[in-house]
Amino acid sequence: MTLKVGIPRALLYYYYLPLWRTFFEALGLEVVISRPTTKTILEAGLQNSGDDVCLPVRLAFGHVLDLKDRVDVLFLPRLVSIARREYICPKFLGFPDMVRHGISGLPPLIDPNFNLYRKDSPYPFFVALGRNFTGNRLAIYLAYRRAMHAQARYVQLLEKGLFPEQALAVLYRGVAEGQEPGGGGPAVAVIGHPYNIYDPYISMNLLSRLARSGVRVRSADNLPETLVREQAARLPKHLFWSLGQRMIGAAWHYLQSPDVDGIIHVASFACGPDSLTGELISREVRRRGKPFLNLTLDEHSAEAGVVTRLEAFLDMMERRQFLPAGESV
């Protein structure tokens, strides 16, 4: 029987799934991903985690619980750094331990350190990871190559304008890439952590709501890494947080881009990094005067409140466009 490896559909799943999934599958393992977020998954997460952590981490607990009885091992990489001389939020690093102490009856956890702070290549990480399953170095090397290739292809698809679930469907389910929906609707850049904006339950279908109202949606992940970094480098101080850099760099780019009509920043309540990026972005927006909406999500967010804000934001864009300056509404 093939060994089943569980991967929670949470946190950096949206960035790295192809890397992990292709690696495991190339080694002959079966990958099981937790089901899309539902109220039941979220509530399980809330009940089993402390209320002193942010919602995305609490939700990730729910996804671990969703996998708990369905897999042989759980893969929770201990993410320390995903880019040279940069860190990510310490919650990612602590997550495997929080899970270990917070949930009983878990299958074995596989949680090797992922740390690119001083290195460029993640190869040593994959060697350590692969050793849990095989002694065959060549097989590990080949699986690593395939994983890196899949990840590169994934990033390419995102840069073409796809969102993670669409890109994953192309990679793993053979769905055709599809044409980018054209149309003359306004374009809005949605800036926020991937685990907030791409999780339809948590974002209250933000992306599909926008699409349904004829808005073309963009995110940080549709931009090449180099461009995002170039933009972020314009900050007076280097940001050592990889995710914050991505969001700021993307916001800067979209603020200058004439094809983008408005910006929505999505933040988690009680997330320190988000309040910093939100503040930096909103200051810059004020200087440039593009329609801007800051949506803060928490477990109590009412859908009605989000909808009202979104409608007002869309009206704001629409009325701005159609009214000559100086005329009253």
């Binding site: 709501r209 909103s282 007002a312 704001m316």
Partner: protein, 325 residues
Amino acid sequence: MKGYLGIDVGSVSTNLVFMDENGEIREAIYLRTRGQPIFVLQEGLRQLAERLPGNIVISGVGTTGSGRYLAGIIAGADVVKNEITSHAVAASTLVPGVQTILEIGGQDSKIIILRNGVVTDFAMNTVCAAGTGSFLDQQAARLNIPIEEFGKLALKSTVPVRIAGRCAVFAESDMIHKQQMGYSLPDILAGLCEALVRNYLNNVGKGKEILPPVVFQGGVAANAGMRRAFEQALGLEVHVPPHYNVMGAVGAALLAREKMAGGGTSRFRGFGVAKTRFKAGGFECEGCPNLCEVVEITREGEVIARWGDRCGRWSNSLGYKENAV
């Protein structure tokens, strides 16, 4: 006479206005929602029909507020708009050139920034009671002062007491403490106004560029003490427009006029809907682990609208969309 109907259904109050073709507000009705939006809306329509002349023609209906979709279905709306847009449209029509709208209602508060007549920024608070009218209501009740007297008394203050606390609970205990220390009632009331203004500016007003003309609206704008506290905190003159407490409904009526300007017949169901039997019910869907609480509106026993389902399974089946977005 022809005109437009504006309806604002919020969690605290339900307001209706009738606006004639020239934009004159002819009738305004303010009712407490008391958790029964359908019943109260029907009551409002009944009262409005009584007050208006018999030859009235409704050329358009706009609804707004948190109950805007519900109201839109019951009354038959031509336009259903969020409360930010409605308030902004109303204020910029009544006070041309307005650049800042401060709005404090019974259960929520918002700030809207306009430039050149167009909304450029806004924020809403629906969570924290310390930034809304219910804060003053509670304290007035504690002090046994009718809320109508509150503002007048607060204006008599010479040295407002500083009431600490970012949250209603702390402010209350501090107020009791100040009362025991023997401060005068007007000074305490003025202190409460200042505390609410501080909370408001630190919460919804945070980071917003407040430029004149400033308009203050919503139920709390009736309180002259609040207006003075805003003027002092901002160092700007603050206008309270006519119809300040039904501005959402005014905006909805204006939007209805805008919508119908191109012609066409209104979807208004007529004042007779006051007698129709509507019911709001609901059930928990067990179709998937989301366990959505689906709201269902029936008219004379027939289901006319449903919402609250995350997947659209129930709302789509009626060919009805909950939201524009």
